[in-house]
Symmetry: C2
Subunit: 240 residues, 2 copies
Amino acid sequence: MYKDSNLRTILKTISWRITATTTTATLVYLFTGQLQTAIEVGLLEMGAKMLFYYLHERMWDKMMFGRVEVPAFVLWITGIPRSGKTTLGDMVETRLKDEKLKIQRLDSHDVRPLFPETGFSRDEVNNHIKRVGHLASMMEKNGIITIASFVSPFTESREFVRSICRNYVEVYLKTTPDHVRKYETDDIYDKAKRGLVHNVPGVDVEYEASEKTELVIDMTSLSLEEASEKLIKYIKKNLI
Amino acid sequence: MYKDSNLRTILKTISWRITATTTTATLVYLFTGQLQTAIEVGLLEMGAKMLFYYLHERMWDKMMFGRVEVPAFVLWITGIPRSGKTTLGDMVETRLKDEKLKIQRLDSHDVRPLFPETGFSRDEVNNHIKRVGHLASMMEKNGIITIASFVSPFTESREFVRSICRNYVEVYLKTTPDHVRKYETDDIYDKAKRGLVHNVPGVDVEYEASEKTELVIDMTSLSLEEASEKLIKYIKKNLI
């Protein structure tokens, strides 16, 4: 929650006083034709009103009435490994922070290490995503925009997250294992094809696309910058 | 984050205008001795300044400068089962919400069901508490006061939570199994003594008190209301 600092109130007081005293002195001069009276009324008014204005501001700062929370939302970025979720999430975060919005990033790479015992079976992934969803909805309820980036390949857990959030927006980065292999560093898809790792969405586990997804971005035809622009445009149009 | 609503600005405009125009008209009357001029200047000023004031307010509402976040903190209530953590946490929450502060409650009874696979061994409890600590520190960083109530019997994980929070305040509800047995519904202590349940702090696991604990409340000598008053007093003196 925000409160006005004393300095903010002082600067507001000064900027208002310049506007206001100029108006008053001009009016007095127009009515009386006396420059001296206009200046004297102006000067006296300046002193008295700066004090009153300051006190008026401090009083209002203590009241919550009419202070409305900027509505939050949960932006859920989903897609197979290496589709660009983390990078895109970070790009969006940077842009929204420029707009002075409160953001919490939740990324699989940061959250997974907190749950080292959680594996990659269907049940484990679903439970993990549901827990992250609880966290996201808690942030959202507190007025904090949450940008989550998780593979989250199963409709069941994504729909659960949707159901517990007030304003859940799903962004699916659509691509293919063949396309993303050029970005590979550890070649997870190669290992999966050779049977060395299991439960890799896009290879031995199907990524379950959903009709409810708000925005599908075709990552095979767009660069990360183009995808980011598309996403930011969507957010600005529909969410803020 | 909060923004002023239009209605708030309009009401501020009116309350300020009454203060200000009265001042101006009085000054003009004192200087000119002309009641009619005073009223005319006042009326014209009223129209012009309300418009200017409204625009001035809307402009400042768009600026973040000098809006300071009300500092958050993590209030960590710890103690053996049935010591009164949940009830006391809820009482504090109610009181702080009356002060229009942003609060997130984290209670063991709500968080545990999200981790059904987590048991009560020393390692499992420590990991669970550390995860909850991450959540609490995330809320705190976003300016939300967090009231957590968990048995959290081990110093290791409590000190970890302290280390990742900016302003961590530990409240230990000190009591004994014998004292709290009168509040029992499921008689966990009786079962623990008969060996039917294990890992019950206060019985077969030691509750590890810490010298760093900010506030120790002796629950054997205070009622819940008295304990709540003591805690609220501490918070008001040291945290808000």
